[in-house]
């Protein structure tokens, strides 16, 4: 990815001593993290490592136990939600709605939503905007959600398992969609288990294990230091 150094150095997401506990269980140990603007970051870790907890905290879907999060200088709230475009790992739309009705909703609530971009992506994936979500396959619903999320000119895109439920051909389209549609000054955080599929688009990776950040480095660094792809290195680090 071509980015200026200035863009890359400006912090977009800052976490200070961020932690999350569920009763006596610590899902996320105090975490300090600074993610700059203009990066595509892979959030990687085995099941139960704290990826989804971290993503939910960024989106205000759960409340933190301690610490602080700032997105573009704002704590989690209305202002942060204006600049975060979030794709959850589940279907969160009203199944009885048509795609057009959902586009209306996004247009009404998100100032940065680009309807023409969404319609163009729907057309290229041959999804009829007049059709209802409940008539669509699981994979098509996921594509619709991704289109909605990537049609925003957000500053931070958070994609939780964006390619898990779709066929390999659609995965390529989705990855192209992510690269082509995100604002180069924006940052994309992608949480996934399908590392080999996405590593060609990643700039940086964060390894999470048992609720702790064990590694935050660039993909180039991993390749140069360990002589391995991210997927290979991940398998080595998290070998069962």
């Amino acid at each position: 990815m071509n980015k200026t150094n200035a863009t890359s150095l400006t912090p977009l997401l800052v976490c200070q001593n961020l932690s999350k506990q569920y009763g006596s269980f610590t899902a996320l140990f105090p975490m300090n993290l600074i993610i700059p603007k203009g990066r595509i970051v892979g959030l990687l870790g085995p099941n139960g490592s704290g990826k989804t907890t971290f993503i939910k905290l960024l989106n205000g879907l759960i409340t933190k136990s301690s610490g602080d999060i700032q997105v573009d200088g704002n704590p989690i709230g209305v202002e942060s939600k204006k600049v975060i475009s979030y794709l959850p790992d589940r279907t969160y739309l009203n199944m009885s709605n048509t795609v057009n009705e959902i586009l209306d909703l996004f247009e009404d609530f998100y100032e940065d939503f680009d309807r023409s971009r969404a319609l163009s992506m729907l057309e290229s994936l041959q999804i009829d905007p007049k059709s209802r979500l409940k008539t669509m396959s699981k994979g098509t619903k996921e594509k619709v959600q991704l289109i909605l999320v990537m049609s925003r000119n957000a500053k931070l895109y958070i994609l939780d398992e964006p390619i898990a439920g779709v066929d390999p051909a659609a995965r390529d389209y989705i990855l192209r969609t992510i690269i082509q549609n995100y604002n180069p000054n924006a940052t994309v955080i992608i949480a996934t288990h399908l590392i080999s599929d996405i590593e060609q688009i990643l700039d940086d990776v964060i390894f999470l294990q048992n609720g702790q950040v064990t590694l935050y480095t660039s993909v180039e660094e991993i390749r140069a230091t360990h002589g391995k792809s991210v997927d290979e290195y991940f398998r080595e680090v998290f070998r069962c």
Partner: protein
């Protein structure tokens, strides 16, 4: 922003209401026709059927209001506490606006349901019979004024209005508090409702006792102490208002401080 949220809240919930209203109005027409059987037929079986249908019709009227609360509560649960909550809580909207919209939405549907109930009665009773009953209302109002009961009417009206707002709000608060628990969220919501109901009952009973002090019985106040009854009704009004505020802020604070999706 409230207007936008309310627009989508109304849109999300209108289908089950329209079906219920449609069913009730069709049942009203059917009940009107079946009512005639009672007048013109002596056949026992036919009359039994007519009576059973009329009982079912009365139950359907009750069901309208029960359905109204169920639809409102299910909509709240789905919007905030299921996967749809991932969209609701990531919209750039204040939590207070989201909750306020649900409250306004609920009150609007309660009023529309009441209106549909009135229309159903017009169909069932027939316009002439219905308006004969309606004509009594102005006379009742005159009587209320004549006997100096206007104050009571206003107090009871205010209490009724707050009860309409409180009916869904208490359930919203219980669900919002219940979701704070990591496990058995629905059970926790029900437990919260039981505890809240117990507290409200306790305070209401205590109030009756306090306002009855110096009187031999509660009936004594009703019949002989106008001032005492006014004081009691004003207390109930203020108590309902306080509950409204508590439920509203309990819902907002539970989501703001302890959201657990």
């Amino acid at each position: 922003m409230l207007k936008k949220v309310l627009k989508y809240d109304m849109k999300n919930i209108y289908r089950p209401f329209m079906i219920t209203y449609g069913c009730l109005l069709v049942l009203s027409l059917a009940a009107t026709m079946i009512k005639q059987i009672e007048h013109y037929s002596n056949a026992i079986l036919l009359n039994l059927f007519a009576n059973l249908f009329l009982v079912a019709y009365i139950l359907a009227n009750v069901g309208l209001f029960l359905g109204c609360i169920i639809f409102i509560v299910v909509d709240f649960y789905k919007s905030f506490l299921t996967d749809k909550g991932f969209l609701t809580f990531t919209l750039p909207v204040k939590t207070s606006t989201l909750v306020l919209s649900k409250v306004i939405n609920a009150v609007i549907w309660e009023f529309i349901s009441f209106l549909i109930f009135v229309i159903a009665q017009i169909i069932f009773l027939g316009p002439s019979e219905f308006f004969r009953i309606i004509r009594v209302i102005p006379e009742m109002l005159k009587a209320i004024e004549y006997f100096g009961l206007l104050g009571f009417a206003i107090e009871i009206g205010g209490i009724t209005l707050l009860a309409i707002i409180n009916a869904p709000l208490v359930l919203f608060a219980c669900m919002a508090i219940g979701q704070c628990f990591s496990k058995q969220k629905i059970l926790a919501s029900i437990a919260t409702y039981i505890v809240m109901s117990f507290i409200i009952q306790f305070v209401s009973m205590a109030a009756i006792f306090i306002f009855s002090l110096g009187a031999s019985s509660y009936e004594y106040i009703v019949l002989n102490s106008v001032t005492g009854l006014h004081a009691y009704l004003i207390f109930i009004f203020l108590f309902q208002l306080l509950l409204c505020i508590i439920y509203y802020f309990a819902t907002i604070l539970s989501f703001k401080k302890k959201l657990n999706l």
